[in-house]
Symmetry: C2
Subunit: 303 residues, 2 copies
């Protein structure tokens, strides 16, 4: 029975624990976290992540470790989601390396501290790779497998295999970069959204509706390159850019101009009005409904 | 029986004709286009747009007009998708205005020529509004209802009512701007995608997979504002930006820096390699499969 050691039991840690337990009936999960109410906390929150799973079987395969050593010493995978702090991460991997089996996979769930920074004090820097989820990982299929210049091909390959075996969608990010890929893409659109709302072109709720009725479903079925490749007909993306490139360029130029004028930087004045609109329109978010709908959408596209 | 006049029978015109015929059994559609093989062309291509519809009933309610006058003279709606050319559009609306009923709605499907430019020679400039679809309109729910400073509230209101009655998602764009909203948002993400691929961070196919496994389904269920509002928990978007704003800002700064260095402008060198990757990976696109999956996804989220 392959053992997964979950280091750090925040919401990401619990969501991953639930994912492993629910998708691989042959695994056990050991959770290690320094919080004093760990068992109580996990017992209270984990069931919420175990929708559609055999809860009794999952809980039976779950254990709590009293030390980092006991958590990792016979683990096949060590998955870390501790504090987003370079010093913490640099210091924990040598300890994990010391106690874990020689062939255990080492994954960090960090959204921003690259493996090349985390691995600096490890004996074998090739063992560590970032597996950055899209929240919440028990629902969203994506794992960004961000390799450092040191990460070995073997580690990448075994990491991909593991996640594919769980029915997830691991994707290799070949070079470390600020924010990795998913957040970079999403934040680029989000900035344009903030800019257009700030200019009074469209309301917060209406902009959301625009995305839900167009790009959302389109990009669930085909990513942006494939979508525009189809838009170009027989000649593909090349034809698309030949035909529509002028429009694309004028949109990019208009965006640049608006961003310069509108100063869409975090902390500037535009933020307050948009946050107020979101609060007025949405109140407190119902993530349970969101997650249920997301499951249905993912099932529909994979049918 | 309300008559819809479709002016211009390209792919958008046919897709709209099919949409009206299929979704409103009480309407008739008259198509006007200067192409000489109009009837043959429509007969050949329209059935492809009539999936899940009663084809015989639809075709029975379809007619071809020999002149612009006869097309519009008893129409409830005149929907224009002629050439994307300001002179053409400025010249056609006064003719339509002359022959159409006084209460007919006037819609342009343009993706870029605002109503305020098209309406310049009309007697009553308040009658025209842009209804920009997301391609193909018989599948994608979105209509961007882009009002000019002259468009009347009554025209906007009746336009929204019509589309809502057809089960579509019309959204008001309050100010004319380059590219309107949907394309501006999509192109912002697309630019970041081109930039990241050009830097060798990720492959074309892998980037598409990242979007399909994360933002696509997320934004099908909740638009970007609602999604990040939920990400902030109880405190909503304000908390999200307080907590994650630093990361967002560093991603935006990194993107700006990359764009400056990478010169992601249409026609520059980066384009060729990306187009070749898309061609190698995707070949000729299968839009039928895309449309079928999109229908399933839209059904799933609206269940």
């Amino acid at each position: 029975m392959a053992k997964i050691a979950i280091i750090g039991a925040g919401t990401i840690g619990l969501s991953f624990a639930a994912l492993h337990l629910a998708k691989d009936p042959g695994c056990s999960v050991a959770i290690y976290d320094t919080r004093t109410d760990l068992q109580e906390y996990v017992s209270q929150h984990l069931p919420g992540y175990l929708v559609d799973a055999d809860e009794i079987s999952c809980i039976r395969r779950l254990s709590f470790s009293q030390s980092l050593k006991s958590a990792v010493e016979d683990a096949a995978v060590v998955q870390e989601q501790g504090p987003e702090n370079g010093d913490f991460k640099r210091s924990i991997w040598p300890q994990i390396e010391q106690h874990a089996p020689a062939d255990a996979l080492f994954w960090s769930s960090t959204s921003g501290i690259p493996a090349s920074e985390q691995n600096q004090d490890m004996k074998d820097r090739s063992r560590l790779v970032v597996c950055h989820p899209y929240n919440p990982p028990h629902i969203m299929p994506l794992l960004e497998v961000v390799r450092s210049p040191q990460t070995s091909d073997d580690v990448v390959e075994r990491t991909l295999q593991y996640w594919r075996g769980l029915g997830r969608t691991p994707v290799v990010v070949k070079k470390e970069c600020v924010g990795f890929v998913a957040n970079r893409l999403a934040f680029a659109l989000f900035r344009e959204a903030c800019s257009l709302v700030s200019q009074g072109v469209v309301e917060v709720e209406d902009l959301d509706e625009i995305v839900r009725a167009s790009m959302g479903p389109r990009w669930t079925v085909a990513g942006p390159f494939k979508a525009y490749h189809a838009g170009g007909g027989q000649g593909g993306l090349r034809s698309f850019l030949d035909k529509i490139g002028g429009t694309v360029d004028s949109c990019w130029n208009a965006s640049d101009e608006d961003l310069r004028q509108g100063k869409i930087k975090i902390g500037e004045a535009w933020q307050e009005s948009i946050c107020r609109q979101a609060q007025d329109v949405y109140g407190v978010a119902d993530t349970a409904e969101r997650d249920q709908k997301t499951r249905r959408v993912l099932e529909a596209v994979n049918e």
